[in-house]
Symmetry: C2
Subunit: 208 residues, 2 copies
């Protein structure tokens, strides 16, 4: 009986109709990792607000064996990214391109398929997910989200310049701990926007 209950979510998912693009819960807290290029690995804790189109994340990474640390606030609606240095109390404010980030599946994405990560032979051994793909001006993507809860699991993003970038999501909680995560710190108020060069996007934080 227990087993029947345990499997019910997987089975119900398998019997359900073809999935439609879904909306993740609007407020999420979690961790992510980014692997790209020949030698980039980074991990970040993030807070995401889909209502306000805002992401805050604190990230530690390693690129060509050099460790780096970033605290960043991405305000997609305002088209602004703050790169925050708490040690020096300094702030870099840059233009942010708002067309794609891996926390959401774009509305016009196409279903690549529904699979079970791991397996379905025993309880706790698998996760039912839907993979979506699409193409946009900057590149192409494959986004994978859970069938239940529509939580992000991984995103592959490809551009000519960068090759494949893998973002994996884990330890996600629904809700946020501190709404002030989305406020730039006091010392950022006077930061002047740097409008030179291309606007940044989500991945610029990892790959210059």
């Amino acid at each position: 009986m227990k087993t029947i209950v345990l499997f019910s979510s997987l089975v119900l998912g398998c019997l359900a109709q073809k999935p439609h693009p879904c909306k993740s819960p609007p407020l999420l807290t979690g961790s992510l990792s980014v692997v790209a290029h020949h030698d980039l690995m980074a991990g970040a804790k993030y807070t995401y607000d889909a209502f306000g189109q805002r992401i805050r994340f604190r990230e530690i990474g390693s690129y060509q064996n050099q460790t780096f640390w970033i605290d960043a606030l991405l305000l997609f609606r305002e088209g602004v990214i703050y790169k925050i240095n708490h040690q020096n109390h300094t702030c870099k404010k840059e233009k942010l391109r708002a067309d794609f980030h891996p926390m959401e599946v774009p509305n016009n994405a196409t279903l690549l398929g529904q699979v079970i990560l791991g397996g379905s032979s025993g309880p706790g051994e698998g996760l039912l997910v839907n993979s979506w793909y699409g193409e946009m001006k900057q590149g192409k993507y494959v986004s994978t989200v859970t069938e239940f809860g529509c939580l992000p699991v991984s995103t592959l993003f490809h551009t000519e310049r960068t090759g494949w970038i893998l973002t994996s999501f884990f330890n996600i909680l629904i809700g946020i701990e501190d709404p002030q995560d989305f406020f730039p710190p006091e010392f950022c108020q006077d930061a002047v926007s740097d409008n030179k060069g291309e606007p940044a996007d989500f991945y610029s934080l990892f790959i210059e």
Copy 2:
């Protein structure tokens, strides 16, 4: 009550002691995908026998927008790989290097961490996994397996020459359908081993 049962596997896992390297079930059938380089994507159906150290897989892929198709039998114990062409009834037999393949976590791997892919806020929304890393002569790896069942979920493998290669595993069943999957076809009996060049490994099937 239902919810309590549904969460029990995740919770039990979280409360369990630090994970130790585990052995996957010895006979597995499933699918995998490989993403690498600037423009490689491939998918394969595979059958794996850990007792006999054998993998058979039928793979379809795309590299630089060219589609390719491979049927291969990897016999690690014999150190031989057969690349089978059913259309022409031909067979290429090559030396196989047996030191690493992504279906198993090496015994001397180090625990990178235990995480929940997706989340734990609702039933069916997350998968408890352990990630292991290590380094060997050819490169370094990060292997992720389920806490329950020790099924492979993904492997990242990095060499200087290839950069990161991502292998993801899904739709895994315990057991195999046909033990004859591990026999080379009749027309392979006379294939002569090609001993020129470096021995092949698991990834040579995808990246030359």
